[in-house]
């Protein structure tokens, strides 16, 4: 028995055109929380997939309790007590919480489920680790936080000793994150070993004992968290010093570009998702719409971009009424849209990078001949230029299938495409979601450059750091209405929180 629960020694894993993991070593002590830090595409997910048996490493070995083991598939990992909470939960939506927890490990007798026994075990675990759940609620009806607790209970129910959390806080609210941190600490105290994948430095500083940093597939080092600072960690991760504070000049707002009046957009249910919203965005300013997820921001953007029709109200862009204009008309008359969900809307994942880079302009004469043939040579040249200018990294350049690219580089591709269109109005929805610190910095810089170049920028974001640092004006949305307007330097995060949760309201 060694002191390490799991050791991954000198792991190397190659994919066509790229070495995803290059001689990486990671040693997880019993009962510790070990953070794995790295930019998108640094090889974190690949390394975890190797540990979880989804990929086989070409070189290196994995040891469990000091003994060499072979992990060929997730079942092997499970048998060794390794469990994983994926970034995107793997739950059956129409099953109850309890059914989801026991799924695949149901106690049976003569072909019949022994649900009472399962329920007892689940509730015991729930109490012991303070993981509040409602075992009979259907997953589709519970909060994201409870879905995550369900995932954690799934691992505990299988008596897993090594718990992998893949970017668990990406989808949580501030309160839920705090709660999760406590849960993780509790689990470690009970002797579980935790691998925590993240690129949020404050979270790593708060919970982890050790932190291993990867950069571009290579091992940078492992440090004791108490001996380090966020600045040192980010320098290790990015390979240079990163400024956290966004540098910008005061805004010089000009003419009104976007003018929204009494906009109402229908929602999924009977209630309208957006109700009587009015606001303006001027040239040379960044306006941020914030609020807790699900308060109508998504639908607001759908209404602006033409993906959903308005129920009532009007939208003017540069003085022109575009209320009834099609998506294409809005786009060609100067609107760019970085969508919230890059996989759903932003990209055709099975298209090549070049085909995705012209997704908004393929019909222009420079890319399509009069006869309707695509001008492949021009498309390739255009794509190569964007890749170079916006530093989009991929295995095979323009011809890379976008699905195989890392999330951060997919996002860079979208941003390159939308900014290069040279829009009058740039709508950026959650532009830094799931993107690492180095890239966040560059995205923020690009937004501000657009502003300084006299564009109108509408940012929609849930990230409080972003909301406080980037925009010139903040609008808070709550239950489909705008409930507050602020200047970033005249409001605190706590104050914003009160508006976001509906505790306070202004007339806007």
């Amino acid at each position: 028995m060694g002191e390490y629960a799991v050791e991954m020694l000198h792991i190397t894993k190659r994919f066509p055109g790229i070495v995803a993991n290059d001689d990486i070593t990671l040693q997880l002590k019993k009962g510790e929380i070990h953070a794995l830090l790295g930019e998108n595409g640094a090889g974190k997910s690949t390394l975890m997939s190797v540990l979880f048996g989804l990929y086989q490493a070409e070189e290196g070995e994995i040891r469990k309790d000091g003994k060499k083991v072979e992990i060929k598939n997730p079942n092997d990992a499970n048998a060794l007590g390794i469990g994983m909470v994926h970034q995107h939960f793997k739950l059956v939506e129409c099953f109850s919480v309890l059914d989801n927890i026991i799924l695949g490990a149901e106690p049976v007798q003569g072909g019949f489920l022994k649900k009472d026994e399962a329920r007892k075990k689940v509730m015991e675990l729930s109490n012991r680790y303070h993981l509040q759940i409602d075992p009979d609620a259907k997953v589709e009806n519970i909060t994201v936080g409870m879905q995550q607790r369900t995932e954690i209970l799934k691992m505990l129910y299988r008596d897993n000793e090594i718990l992998i959390f893949d970017e668990p806080t990406a989808v949580l609210t501030v309160q839920e994150i705090e709660e999760l941190m406590q849960i993780m600490k509790g689990l470690a105290k009970e002797g579980k070993s935790i691998l925590f994948i993240s690129h949020k430095l404050n979270e790593i500083m708060e919970v982890s004992d050790h932190c291993t940093v990867l950069r571009k597939g290579k091992y940078v080092g492992t440090v004791e968290t108490k001996d380090t600072t966020p600045e040192k960690l980010s320098a290790m991760m990015v390979g240079r010093n990163v400024s956290f504070k966004v540098e910008k000049k005061p805004a010089e707002p000009g003419d009104v570009v976007l003018d929204v009046k009494d906009m109402t957009v229908a929602g999924q249910n009977k209630k309208d998702a957006v109700q009587d919203v009015s606001f303006q965005v001027r040239k040379g300013e960044i306006v941020c719409i914030t609020g807790i997820d699900g308060n109508g921001q998504t639908e607001l953007v759908y209404g602006l971009s033409g993906l959903e029709p308005l129920k009532s109200g009007s939208i003017h862009m540069n003085g022109k009424d575009i209320t009834k204009a099609s998506v294409r008309e809005r786009s060609t008359s100067g609107m760019s849209h970085i969508p919230e969900d890059r996989h759903k809307h932003g990209l055709v994942l099975d298209y090549s990078l070049e085909d995705n880079l012209v997704l908004q302009r393929y019909f222009e004469p420079q890319f399509t001949s009069k006869a309707g043939l695509m001008k492949r040579k021009e498309i390739r040249e255009y794509s190569d230029r964007l890749i170079e200018e916006y530093d989009i990294r991929s295995g095979q350049g323009s011809s890379t299938i976008v699905r195989s690219m890392s999330g951060g580089n997919q996002q860079k591709a979208i941003i390159a495409r939308e900014i290069d269109k040279n829009p009058d109005l740039l709508i950026a929805v959650q532009p830094t979601r799931g993107v690492d610190i180095g890239a966040i910095e560059s995205i923020h810089r690009q937004l501000i450059e657009q502003r300084d170049a006299g564009k109108a920028v509408l940012l929609v974001s849930l990230e409080l750091d972003e909301v406080m640092d980037v925009p010139d004006r903040i609008l808070v949305m709550y239950e489909g209405r705008l409930v507050g307007e602020f200047k970033p330097d005249e409001v605190t995060v706590e104050e914003l929180g009160l508006y976001m949760t509906g505790a306070k309201k202004q007339e806007v």
Binding site: Q56, V327, R328, S331, G346, V348, D355, Y362, M374
Partner: protein, 363 residues
């Protein structure tokens, strides 16, 4: 080590994989078909299998063989059109199981205009295209605006079209049989011209310009899919209709257009067959034409590639025709259809074998 790497890379090329997977499917189909024949009557199994594979080569005299080769080609042309119909829709993420119905409507309109109004062949052909296109369009509209699954709509429309066509063509059928009147005697202008092609196949008058036309259309489909703006839009819609909508494409129009084009192709296929005079429509038939379904197998066997389809359609027509030469003294009459069906069934597994190869290559 080096050669091994190169070998692996060779196996990872999409086209190579498709060809290998297609060959595996064919061999497996033949093997299972042979086993079935052995089970029924071991004595004639080998002969039966070779006659299926030989098809027109069954005839020892070369000029006769050539003539029957022509007939197989004449039937390959319509099958190729159905294959292209399925493939075109499939590339856009739609499954055109309604190809049979579109084919039936094409046959109905072509024959009716030919026999009732003595229209020339090109008018009949265009009518068949439009008819098939409209029917395909209906499935497309249902899918785009009411989210009705195109497979369900397609199957329903297949039966509606079959019986409508039976009803329509009863007006132009021979009085003593259930078949439509022969074009040669009743409407010679409606026969597709051969332009001398028949001479190449021992004066087989069923060999018409439909055959080169089908090949040209296959190449056209390939160009549209891989080189044009339309193809770019349609494929994007098929792969991610939300992204297509976000990019300002008219994703609903694209879906309808796709189904309509697919319908045109199938309808035209019917015109290729019936306007060559090789077959007459039986107004008493109670099953939708098999062409549409064989097209599914041919599309997959051809690796979902329009050029590959030319070869796969020929192969499937080859064994379907070859089935009729199985000795009926040894086996019952249905055996030929059964064996070709087994082989065609295995032809659908191309994607499966490709998937297996990819998994192996990855490890």
């Amino acid at each position: 080590m080096n050669t091994k790497n190169e070998k692996k890379r060779f196996l990872e090329i999409g086209g190579v994989q498709t060809v290998i997977a297609s060959l595996i499917c064919i061999i497996l189909g033949l093997l299972v078909g042979y086993i079935v024949l052995l089970c029924i009557n071991p004595a004639g199994a080998w002969d039966a299998m070779t006659s299926i594979l030989k098809n027109f080569l069954y005839f020892p005299r070369p000029e006769v063989a050539l003539e029957y080769f022509g007939s197989t080609l004449a039937k390959t042309a319509p099958l190729l059109m159905c294959t292209l119909s399925i493939l075109f829709a499939y590339k856009v993420g739609l499954f055109n199981i309604g190809a049979s119905g579109q084919y039936a409507v094409g046959a109905g309109l072509a024959l009716y205009l030919a026999l009732a109004y003595q229209m020339p062949w090109y008018v009949c052909m265009i009518a068949a295209m439009i008819g098939g296109g409209l029917l395909g369009g209906i499935a497309g509209i249902l899918k785009a605006y009411l989210n009705v699954n195109e497979v369900i709509a397609g199957i329903m429309l297949n039966w509606i079209s079959l019986y409508s066509v039976n009803m329509l063509l009863t007006n132009v059928k021979e009085s003593s049989t259930t078949y439509t009147m022969a074009l040669k005697t009743n409407s010679p202008d409606a026969l597709i011209p051969s332009l001398g092609l028949d001479k190449l196949f021992s004066d087989n008058r069923y060999v018409t310009i439909a055959i080169p036309l089908a090949v040209i259309i296959a190449i056209l489909v390939w160009v549209v899919m891989s080189k044009t703006k339309l193809g770019y839009e349609l494929k994007a819609t098929g792969l991610n209709k939300n992204a297509a909508k976000y990019a300002g494409m008219k994703e609903k129009r694209n879906m309808i257009l796709t189904m309509a084009i697919a319908g045109c192709l199938a309808g035209l296929g019917a015109a290729f067959l019936y306007l060559s005079g090789i077959e007459q429509w039986s107004c008493a038939q109670t099953a939708v034409p098999a062409m549409g379904f064989n097209g599914i197998a041919a599309a997959f066997l051809g690796g979902l590639n329009p050029i590959g389809s030319i070869f796969s359609a020929f192969f499937i027509q080859h064994i379907t025709s070859g089935g009729s030469y199985v000795d009926k003294m040894v086996y019952c009459a249905q055996i030929s259809d059964l064996i070709s069906a087994i082989i065609i069934y295995f032809c659908g597994f191309v994607l499966f074998f490709k998937y297996c190869m990819n998994r192996k290559a990855k490890k």
